[in-house]
């Protein structure tokens, strides 16, 4: 079977010549290089939560990928590149593997995956995906960057441990050393709590109390009675709560036994993106997104945007749409992406994770930007967040 990508390069040799010299005459724009990105999403079922105020957008992530394609095309028109987003969105009860297998068959592709960890691994392990470049733009599971890493998967979503490291750096800096940990009972909450424990140890903080949340109370009415009793302890500097679906954590604030700040899933949260980020030119990205979607940009939107923009950056610099070449360039020292987060973003060569700053935010403002000043690293301070090379159990990238 003829490889479609090779054919495209063969048909349009002219812009390649000019690009190699980093100067692009306007006239060449007539010959176009098609850059096709496949977007795969499985709609997810959100667990029931107490508050009616917690609403997740239906098109979470999808709009981020769309904006990435728009941004790529705004540059691409000067370079003779045309980016297309082919969407494959499956319903909650549908098996995504069948249509994905079909879409990946017979050609090497660049794919943005807005799916859960289990589906991601199933797709990555398909023989049809072996020559593809996949981006994990949703799952924060640390294992996917560690013992479950796959050489054909790069991650634009941060790992949980990057987020919890950022939080613990902040607590260390503020000398809030004694933590009261409240764990939610859903799998994500438990994984996040484990990550909190790991990061607390790394940054020399002490979990003085640890409790699992009580599931049978309606906190909208009872928080003032239940939470003070639940958080009764002699001494703690801060309450850390893990509640990824935001079921109960918002009711902990101002109800703790001791007057202490709440961090984690409510109060001050470590995030990869938030509508309150406006520094570093982020206001422009926010307003472009709002114009496109009539809502604010979420972390999942950001990870999807970053995946599509990473493809765009690589294709622009190497003028190739070969998945293998794009992957090689993205993992090289040359690659950098301006991600509106205060530093150039690039990927860790040992596990394919996007290095990025993590913002500590509350509902109305950014409190701090991690890595927090003072935490040093021989390579880049960004590597004080998440799995570093020596501790990595990922062999697929070696």
């Amino acid at each position: 079977m003829v490889n479609a990508k090779i054919l495209i390069n063969w048909i349009y040799p002219v812009p390649i010549l000019f690009l190699s010299s980093m100067f692009i005459g306007a006239a060449q724009a007539a010959d176009e290089l098609d850059v096709n990105v496949l977007y795969v999403e499985q709609r997810i079922e959100r667990p029931p939560v107490l508050s009616n105020l917690v609403v997740w957008p239906e098109d979470d992530g999808e709009r981020g990928a769309e904006l990435g394609v728009n941004d790529n095309n705004a540059s691409g028109r000067f370079l003779g590149q045309k980016y297309n987003l082919e969407k494959l969105i499956v319903a909650i009860d549908e098996n995504p593997l069948i249509p994905v297998r079909k879409a990946l068959a017979g050609q090497s592709r660049m794919v943005v995956l807005n799916v859960d960890a289990k589906t991601l691994l199933a797709i990555a392990d398909m023989p049809e995906a072996a020559d593809d470049l996949l981006f994990n733009a949703r799952s924060t599971d640390t294992n996917l960057r560690d013992d479950l890493c796959r050489s054909n998967v790069l991650h634009t979503a941060p790992s949980r441990v990057m987020l919890t490291d950022a939080l613990m750096q902040f607590l260390n800096k503020r000398k809030w050393r004694n933590l009261f940990l409240i764990k939610g009972n859903r799998p994500g909450d438990i994984a996040l709590a484990e990550s909190m424990q790991r990061s607390a140890k790394k940054f020399q903080l002490k979990i003085v109390q640890e409790k699992s949340w009580i599931t049978d109370a309606d906190m909208r009415r009872n928080a003032a009675q239940e939470v003070p009793v639940f958080t009764q302890a002699r001494k703690y500097d801060v309450v850390v709560v893990t509640d990824e679906s935001r079921d109960f954590s918002q009711y902990i604030l101002y109800n703790t036994w001791l007057p202490r700040p709440v961090v984690g899933s409510s109060g001050m949260r470590p995030v990869a993106w938030s509508p309150v980020i406006e520094q570093w030119g982020a206001a422009q990205l926010q307003s472009r997104f709002e114009k496109l979607s009539d809502r604010s940009m979420t972390e999942v939107d950001y990870a999807n945007w970053a995946a599509v923009r990473s493809i765009g950056e690589a294709v622009t610099r190497i003028n190739s749409v070969q998945a293998a070449e794009v992957r090689q360039y993205i993992l090289s020292d040359e690659f950098e992406l301006a991600g509106f987060k205060g530093a150039a973003l690039n990927f860790r060569a040992w596990n394919g994770q996007l290095r990025q700053t993590v913002q500590l935010v509350h509902a109305n403002a950014v409190v701090a930007n991690a890595p927090i000043e003072g935490f040093l690293h021989a390579r880049t301070e960004l590597d004080t967040l998440g799995l570093d090379e020596p501790e990595s159990r990922c062999d697929a990238f070696r």
């Binding site: 690009l19 100067f23 692009i24 306007a26 941004d71 000067f78 622009t316 610099r317 530093a343």
Partner: protein, 333 residues
């Protein structure tokens, strides 16, 4: 001790004499836009004090003077307009149709065409300042920011921050004739006085690209390293090239330093510590003092060019951004 004191006194006396003689000649005005105060501060460069603060439109950023030094153009980003202010009485004479969210601009040597970057719309707007009409709107890359017009007037440059390009606009045809790919997030563009080179700073890339105006290709890339400061914080933004062709000053954003580049050897010779998050700069007509706007610390640093030292910090409004200097001979009485 006495003799060293005498030396200092003697030195000071010698230095004071030419200064006092030139009192009238050297009292320029530096106009500083305060992004979060909706004001422009005016600094007298002889005393280095703020002599007045003028209310202007919302979120003022780019500021530039007309070629005859009679009017100040102000990009009032959130008012979606360019204001034209008389330097004589600080009155806003009129507003120009600038397109949405104007951030930076450059005035053509013809004193007639203003090239404006419209950050949110990915376009550059060309306005005739006499007829106050839009002459052309040119599609450019995402988040256009830096603007420059060559001294011979042939090319206008706009840099697009997210597309990472310098677009070359032919000012006759008002259309893009070439694009040069540079490092991440290009912020500022400056032509050398002979127009042979275009300098483009890349904030996130941490570099300055020197581009040959003939071939439109990068001939050299400047890198920066300051001991004890993380490379992530070294973010080149504003640039000032001295008229004698010997030196370049590069503002390095949140590293709080200005780099001094020897343009013969293309080496960085000094890093000058200034205020926090240094954005843009302006040199006096004599090229003896450099004024830097420091966004986070809300002040302006005065750098003595000869000694490469910061000599004074002047408090201005919140988030000072742009700066331009009105030569003393045009300062109103």
């Amino acid at each position: 001790m006495n003799s060293s004191l005498a030396k200092i006194v003697g030195f000071t006396a010698a230095a004071v004499l030419p200064l006092s003689m030139s009192n009238l000649a050297f009292a320029h005005w530096a106009y500083v836009s305060n992004e979060k105060d909706d004001t422009v501060s005016v600094i007298d460069t002889e005393t280095d004090e703020v002599i007045k603060t003028i209310d202007v439109g919302e979120r003022p950023r780019g500021v530039t003077l007309s070629r005859d030094f009679q009017t100040l153009y102000i990009c009032a980003s959130d008012s979606d307009t360019v204001q034209v202010m008389s330097v004589v009485d600080d009155k806003i004479l009129h507003e120009l149709p600038s397109g949405e969210d104007p951030e930076q601009f450059a005035l053509h040597p013809d004193n007639k065409h203003l090239y404006i970057a419209n950050e949110d719309d990915a376009i550059a707007t060309v306005v005739d300042v006499e007829t106050r009409t839009v002459v052309a709107q040119i599609d450019v890359g995402v988040e256009p920011e830096g603007m420059a017009v060559s001294h011979d007037g042939k090319f206008a440059i706009v840099t697009s921050e997210t597309s990472n390009m310098a677009h070359w606009i032919d000012t006759e045809a008002q259309s893009i004739v070439a694009n040069t790919l540079v490092d991440q997030r290009p912020r500022d563009a400056e032509f050398t006085l002979d127009d042979k080179e275009l300098w483009v700073s890349s904030e996130i890339g941490g570099t300055v690209s020197i581009i040959d105006s003939e071939s439109k290709e990068i001939t050299h890339t400047l890198n920066f390293a300051i001991p004890g400061i993380s490379s992530d914080r070294i973010q080149p933004v504003g640039m000032e090239l001295t008229k004698d062709g010997k030196w370049a000053f590069i503002a390095l954003g949140p590293s709080n330093h200005v780099a001094v580049v020897n343009r013969d050897t293309l080496e960085v010779t000094d890093y000058i510590l200034v205020g926090r998050r240094v954005w843009h700069m302006a040199l006096t007509p004599e090229q003896d003092k450099l004024y830097t706007t420091n966004g986070v610390s809300g002040d302006v640093t005065v750098v003595d060019v000869a000694s490469r030292k910061a000599i004074k910090t002047i408090k201005v409004g919140r988030f000072p951004w742009g700066v331009t200097i009105l030569p003393s001979e045009h300062v109103p009485n």
